[in-house]
C-alpha cells in the first residue's frame, strides 16, 4: 500500500470539490473494494475523501420507487421489508453476493462502482488495459475461465462482478449524482457502465469528482414476481459464473411481459431487451425460455477456457424463468 492523505467530507459539495481538486483522489465509503485494491497496489490514490458522514444513509419509499441513499449498506437495502415485498430480485441478488460482513460494510453506490475480479487486473505484474491503459491484456490467452463472453473487446474481457447491478439493470434503476459544479444529473443504470471497447480503463460515465448520491429502483408491478439465480462453483461467497435476473407477468400460460438481465458473463450488467421482446405473447415454457436464452447469448465470444459459460448462461436463464413461472423460485 502506498501512503495517502485522508480527509472527511462535510457535505456532498465539499466532497466533490475535494476529489476534483486533487489529481488522484477517490471517494471512500465502505472501502470493501477500494481498500482491498489499495493493499495490493492496484489502486494508488494520493487522497481519500471519506463520505461516510454525509447524510446519504436513508431508504425512501415512494409509490413507484425505492430511493436508496449512496451510503445505505448492501445489507440494509436487501433486508428492507418493502424491497423484499416489491422487488425480491434485488434482495436475492444482493444476498447472493459476498458475505454478511462485506455486505454490512459495502454501500449501494460502491456496489455500482465495483471493480472486476479479473486476476490480471488485480496483479500489478500483469498487463491490463483496464488498470494501465495500453499495457495489454494478459487475460487474452491467459487464465480466462471467469472472463466475459458478452461486451468484450480485443482490449479487455473482464467480467463485471456485481450481482446487485444485474438486478438494477433489470429494474431500470437510475443513478443520481452531483457534480463539482453543483449540478445534478440522473443516469439510467443501463447507460451508467461503459463497454471496454478501446478504453477499458473508463468504466462508467461519471466525471471526475462526480458523486453518486442516490440509486433509484423502480417498483414496477412486474418486479413483484422476480427472481435472481446465481451459478458458481461453491454454494456461497463466490462470484457468478453465470447469473440471471428475471421478472415475468403471465396470463394463464401466456407471457404478457418479461424482463431479463444477466451477470457473470458480460463486461457490464447485461440487460437482454431483445430476448424480453421475444417472450411477449409466447407460451411460458422451456421452449420460449430457451429461445430467449439463445437470443441473449447470440453475440457471445468464447475464449480458451470459458466457452462453457455460454451454454451455462443459457441454461441459467431457462432455469430462472422456469422456476419463477413454476412458483418454485
Amino acid at each position: 500500500m502506498k501512503a495517502f492523505e485522508y480527509q472527511r467530507a462535510a457535505s456532498p459539495a465539499d466532497s466533490t470539490a475535494a476529489v476534483a481538486s486533487y489529481c488522484n483522489a477517490m471517494f471512500f465509503a465502505g472501502g470493501t473494494t477500494l481498500v482491498d485494491l489499495m493493499k495490493i497496489d492496484v489502486l494508488t490514490p494520493d487522497t481519500l475523501v471519506d463520505i461516510n458522514s454525509l447524510a446519504l444513509h436513508e431508504i425512501e419509499v415512494t409509490d413507484d420507487a425505492i430511493i436508496a441513499g449512496a451510503n445505505v449498506s448492501n445489507s440494509q437495502l436487501a433486508w428492507h421489508p418493502i424491497v423484499r415485498e416489491r422487488i425480491p430480485v434485488l434482495t436475492q441478488s444482493i444476498l447472493s453476493g459476498a458475505t454478511t460482513q462485506i455486505r454490512n460494510m459495502a454501500t449501494v453506490a460502491g456496489n455500482m462502482l465495483q471493480r472486476t475480479r479479473c486476476t490480471y487486473f488485480r496483479d500489478v505484474h500483469s498487463a491490463c488495459n483496464r488498470r494501465v491503459p495500453h499495457s495489454g491484456c494478459d487475460a487474452l490467452g491467459g487464465f480466462n475461465r471467469g472472463a466475459a463472453v458478452l461486451g468484450v473487446s480485443e482490449h479487455c474481457i473482464a467480467t463485471h462482478p456485481s450481482d446487485m447491478c444485474v438486478a438494477a439493470a433489470l429494474l431500470d434503476a437510475e443513478v443520481r449524482t452531483v457534480r463539482p459544479d453543483g449540478s445534478h444529473r440522473i443516469i439510467p443504470l443501463n447507460e451508467f457502465h461503459l463497454l471496454p471497447i478501446n478504453t477499458p480503463h473508463l468504466e462508467t460515465v461519471l466525471d471526475r469528482g462526480e458523486l453518486i448520491t442516490h440509486v433509484v429502483f423502480r417498483t414496477t408491478p412486474i418486479a413483484r414476481r422476480s427472481y435472481y439465480l446465481k451459478v458458481r462453483d461453491r454454494a456461497s461467497y463466490e462470484f457468478a459464473l453465470a447469473s440471471a435476473a428475471v421478472a415475468i407477468q403471465v396470463d394463464g400460460d401466456r407471457i404478457l411481459d418479461a424482463r431479463l438481465a444477466i451477470g457473470g458473463v458480460a463486461t457490464k450488467p447485461w440487460r437482454c431487451v431483445d430476448a424480453e421482446r421475444s417472450l411477449v405473447g409466447k407460451a411460458a415454457g422451456e421452449k420460449s425460455f430457451r429461445e430467449a436464452a439463445e437470443i441473449s447469448l447470440s453475440d457471445a465470444v468464447a475464449q480458451q477456457h470459458n466457452a462453457f459459460k455460454i451454454e451455462l448462461a443459457k441454461r441459467t436463464i431457462v432455469r430462472a424463468f422456469a422456476k419463477i413461472t413454476e412458483g418454485t423460485a
Binding site: D41, F143, D233, R234, S236, R315
Partner: protein
C-alpha cells in the same frame, strides 16, 4: 500399576479452547517484541532465468527503511539438515538464479510494515529470462527412483494384467493444491548476543532450532523456538522454509528484532504445496470379482532446485488382497516452487485414482462397488503376509453401509432423483499407513499436587494439548484440571513434527513412559518408607488415583503424591519418557482404516455438485478423545470435499494465479452437509497407548467417493480433479 479409568476417551473440550475463542492465545503472528522492525519479502515475477540487476537505491531512500537484503549481501549458508523425511529446502538468496515464480529475491526491513511494503514495491529487478520447463512429459527432467521408498513389486502384474478376464486401464489426474491454513505463517526473530530467539509458525520447533543453529553456526542450545499455537498448517509447517532463515538473517543485519509475515499470495509459493499427479492404473480382475493385477504408476512435478520425496502409487501395494502388484513413482523436475507434504500426502491423490478405478471395475463386473471391496479385503498385510496389528476395515464397511443406507441404492446410472436433481451414492476405502518417529517428554509431579507434561511437539489444531492432558491425568490419577501440558518450545524435550498422523502415538507413548517412571519412582519412595501406609508395595500392587497411590482394593492404604514428596523433602519429581517406532517380526504395524459413504445431488443442466450426506466410519485404534477425534475426521472430510470439487492452484506458464482465498476455492459452510462419524475397532497392540493416527485418514477416499457418487448420479466418469461444474454439465 493400574490407572483410574474414565478420563481417557471422554469427549473433553479443548483445554486451550477458551484462550483461542477469546483471542488470548498468542500465535506467532500476534507476537510483538519491543523494538521490532518489519520485514517484507520481494519475490520473483519470472519463472526461470537469472537476476541481472537489482537496484535498491530508491527502496533504500524510502522512509523508515532499515536494511535491504539481496543475494549480493547474503552470506553463504550451509545446506540444512537431512532428516528421516529427507533433505531440507535450500537456503535463501544463494545466487542470482531464479527457479520458479515467487522465489524470494530480496527482503526489505523497515520501521513499520507499511514502510517496508512501500519500499519493497520500489525494489527494481531486471531479469534475464530463460525458457522454463513445465511439462511432465519432458524426459530429460525425470528423476531417479525414489531413494527411500522403493517401488513395490509383488508377483508379475504385467502378465496377470494381460491374462485378466476383465481389464481396466485408465489415467487419473489430481490438481495442484495449496494448504491455505487460515493463519498466515509468521516469524519474529531476535538476537541476544549469540542467542537467537524465534517465534515461528511451524509444526516442528526442534527442526527450526537445528536448521537455524546450522545456518548461523551456533550451538543449538542457543536457539530458542516458541510455537505454543499454530493457526493451522496441514503440512505447510513440516519443513523449515527459506523465509525462516531470512528473518533470522534480517534480525542479525538490522541488529534488532524482525517480524516477517507471509502474505496470502506468498503462502502459495513459499511453503510448498500438494503437487498435481498423473496416475495410470491398470486393474485386472476375474469375473467373480477377484482382483488379479494392480499396476499403479504415478508422475508428479518436483522443483528444479530442492528435494521432496513423494510416493503416490506405493500405497497400492498394501491396499487389496491381490497377488500381482507393481507400483512406480516418478517425479519430473520443472520450474515450480518446491512441493511438500499436504494432509494425507500421496495417499489422498492415490486413493482418488485407485478407489475410482475399483468403482469402475465394479461396474464392468456388474458387482456392487462395496461388495467388490469386501471380496478383495486384505485380511493380512498383502505384501508381507503378516497379520495386521489391528484392522477393523470390514467393520468400517459394514457399519458404514448400515448407517448410510447403502442398500437403498439402485445400481443403474441416473436411476435416483430428487426433482430436477440427480442423486448418486458413492463409497471408497480410506487408509493411511502407520508412521511414528522417536519422541521424548517430561512428566513432573509437584508438591502442590499438580502435574505437568512438557514436550517440544506442537498442537497445530489437532487437539494434542487436550488428549495429552487426558492421558497424563488418567495415568497419574489426577483430575485433568490439575495437569498442565506445555508444548511448542524447543527448550522442551525433543519431539518430531506434528505430521504423518504420527504424533499422538509418538508423544502419547513418550508421556506414557514418563508418567510410568514417575509412578515407579513414587512407589520406590513409599515401599521403603516404614511410615507410609504403602510400605512394601510394588508397582503391580498399587493404582494411581485421587492424586496419589493406593493399594489395590484397599482404599484406606493411600498416600497423595503431595504427601510423599513432602515427607521426602522434594519439591517435585520429574522423569523423562521416550518412545520409538514400534517394530514386530510377527505383525504388520497397521495404520488407520476407514470407509467413506457419500451422497451427492447433481444438477445436470448447471453442473453443480453438492455433497448431501457423508457417513465416515473410522478404525483409529484407541480413541483418546472422541470429541476432538471427530473434529479431526470432520476437518479431513471437508478437506476431501474441497479436493474433490473445488481446490486447484491454477498456474499459467508456471505462474500460480489464483493466489487468494477469494480465487482459490475451498468449501464454504454452505457446501458442507451433515457429517456422520463413527469409530470402530479397538486399541492397537503395537504400542502402549494403542492409538493410531487419524489426522489425515479422513481426507483419503473422499474425492473418489464423491467422483463415484457423481458417476452413479450422472453416468459421467470424471477422472480429473476437481469435479468443477464445467466438467459435470451434461
Amino acid at each position: 500399576m493400574r490407572a483410574a479409568a474414565g478420563i481417557l476417551g471422554a469427549p473433553m473440550s479443548r483445554v486451550e479452547g477458551r484462550l483461542k475463542l477469546t483471542g488470548s492465545a498468542a500465535y506467532p503472528i500476534d507476537v510483538v517484541v519491543s523494538g521490532q522492525a518489519y520485514a517484507v519479502l520481494v519475490q520473483s515475477t519470472v519463472v526461470c532465468g537469472r537476476i541481472s540487476a537489482i537496484n535498491t537505491d530508491m527502496a533504500a531512500r524510502a522512509p523508515g527503511v532499515v536494511t535491504i537484503v539481496t543475494h549480493a549481501n547474503t552470506p553463504a549458508f550451509p545446506l540444512g539438515p537431512t532428516t528421516p523425511l529427507g533433505p531440507s529446502p535450500l537456503p535463501p538468496l544463494q545466487g542470482a538464479e531464479v527457479f520458479h515464480f515467487g522465489q524470494h529475491v530480496a527482503m526489505v526491513i523497515a520501521e513499520t510494515l507499511e514502510q517496508a511494503q512501500a519500499a519493497a514495491s520500489s525494489v527494481a529487478i531486471t531479469y534475464e529470462t530463460a525458457e522454463p520447463t513445465l511439462s511432465l512429459d519432458e524426459p530429460s527432467r525425470a528423476t531417479e527412483l525414489h531413494p527411500w521408498l522403493p517401488d513395490q513389486t509383488r508377483g508379475d502384474a504385467a502378465t496377470a494384467f494381460a491374462n485378466a478376464e476383465v481389464r481396466l486401464d485408465e489415467r487419473y489426474i489430481t490438481a495442484d493444491n495449496t494448504h491455505n491454513p487460515i493463519g498466515l505463517f509468521a516469524i519474529v526473530a531476535e538476537w541476544q548476543g549469540d542467542t537467537l530467539i524465534v517465534h515461528d509458525t511451524t509444526q516442528w520447533p526442534h527442526g527450526v532450532r537445528e536448521t537455524l543453529a546450522g545456518a548461523f553456526g551456533i550451538d543449538p542450545a542457543n536457539v530458542h523456538v516458541h510455537t505454543p499455537y499454530v493457526g493451522g498448517a496441514f503440512g505447510a509447517g513440516l519443513r523449515v522454509w527459506p523465509h525462516v532463515i531470512l528473518a533470522a538473517l534480517g534480525a542479525k543485519l538490522a541488529r534488532r528484532p524482525v517480524k516477517l509475515v507471509l502474505t496470502r499470495a506468498q503462502m502459495f509459493t513459499s511453503l510448498g504445496h500438494r503437487p498435481m499427479s498423473v496416475q495410470r492404473l491398470r486393474l485386472g480382475a476375474a469375473r467373480d470379482g477377484r482382483l488379479t493385477a494392480i499396476e499403479h504408476e504415478a508422475k508428479s512435478p518436483l522443483s528444479m532446485a530442492g528435494e521432496f520425496f513423494n510416493p503416490v502409487a506405493a500405497g497400492a501395494a498394501e491396499a487389496y488382497n491381490c497377488a500381482h502388484v507393481t507400483t512406480r513413482d516418478r517425479q519430473v523436475r520443472v520450474n515450480v516452487s518446491l512441493p511438500t507434504w499436504m494432509r494425507a500426502p500421496g495417499h489422498a491423490e492415490a486413493s482418488f485414482a485407485l478407489e475410482s478405478a475399483v468403482d469402475e471395475m465394479a461396474y464392468r463386473l456388474g458387482i456392487d462397488p462395496l461388495e467388490l471391496r469386501l471380496r478383495n479385503h486384505a485380511a493380512v498385510h498383502p505384501h508381507s503376509g503378516h497379520p495386521w496389528s489391528s484392522n477393523a476395515l470390514l467393520e468400517c464397511y459394514t457399519v458404514g453401509a448400515e448407517r448410510f443406507g447403502w442398500h437403498a441404492r439402485t445400481p443403474a446410472l441416473r436411476s435416483m432423483r430428487d426433482g430436477r436433481l440427480l442423486v448418486g451414492y458413492g463409497t471408497a476405502r480410506a487408509a493411511l499407513s502407520a508412521y511414528q518417529a522417536p519422541c521424548t517428554a517430561l512428566a513432573t509431579v509437584r508438591r502442590d499436587g499438580s502435574a505437568s507434561i512438557r514436550s517440544g511437539a506442537t498442537d497445530i489444531g489437532a487437539g494434542t494439548y487436550t488428549v495429552i492432558t487426558q492421558l497424563a491425568a488418567e495415568l497419574l490419577g489426577l483430575p485433568p484440571t490439575r495437569v498442565h501440558v506445555g508444548l511448542g518450545d524447543s527448550d522442551m524435550p525433543k519431539a518430531p513434527q506434528q505430521g504423518g498422523s504420527g504424533l499422538t502415538a509418538a508423544l502419547g507413548n513418550a508421556v506414557h513412559g514418563a508418567c510410568l517412571d514417575v509412578t515407579r519412582t513414587m512407589v520406590d519412595l513409599v515401599s521403603r518408607d516404614e511410615g507410609s501406609p504403602l510400605y512394601g508395595c510394588t508397582l503391580q500392587t498399587v493404582e494411581t488415583t485421587n492424586g496419589g497411590l493406593q493399594r489395590l482394593g484397599k482404599p484406606a492404604e493411600y498416600e497423595s503424591f503431595a504427601e510423599i514428596l513432602d515427607r521426602h523433602g522434594l519439591d517435585e519429581l520429574t522423569r523423562e519418557g521416550a518412545s520409538k517406532p514400534p517394530s514386530s517380526a510377527a505383525m504388520a504395524h497397521a495404520g488407520s482404516f476407514g470407509a467413506q459413504f457419500i451422497e451427492v445431488r447433481v444438477d445436470p443442466d448447471l453442473g453443480t455438485v453438492r455433497v448431501h450426506r457423508v457417513v465416515s466410519v473410522v478404525d483409529g485404534g484407541r480413541i483418546l478423545n472422541e470429541k476432538v477425534a471427530r473434529s479431526q475426521i470432520v476437518g479431513g472430510i471437508v478437506g476431501g470435499i474441497g479436493m474433490a470439487l473445488f481446490e486447484e492452484t491454477v498456474s499459467v506458464n508456471g505462474r500460480p494465479i489464483n493466489t487468494s482465498l477469494g480465487d482459490y476455492v475451498i468449501p464454504a459452510n454452505a457446501d458442507i452437509p451433515d457429517i456422520d462419524v463413527t469409530f470402530v475397532g479397538g486399541p492397537d497392540p503395537m504400542t502402549e497407548v494403542g492409538a493410531k493416527g487419524i489426522g489425515e485418514l479422513a481426507l483419503t477416499g473422499v474425492a473418489a467417493a464423491v467422483a463415484n457418487a457423481v458417476f452413479h448420479a450422472t453416468g459421467k466418469r470424471i477422472r480429473t480433479l476437481p469435479l468443477s461444474l464445467d466438467k459435470v454439465m451434461d
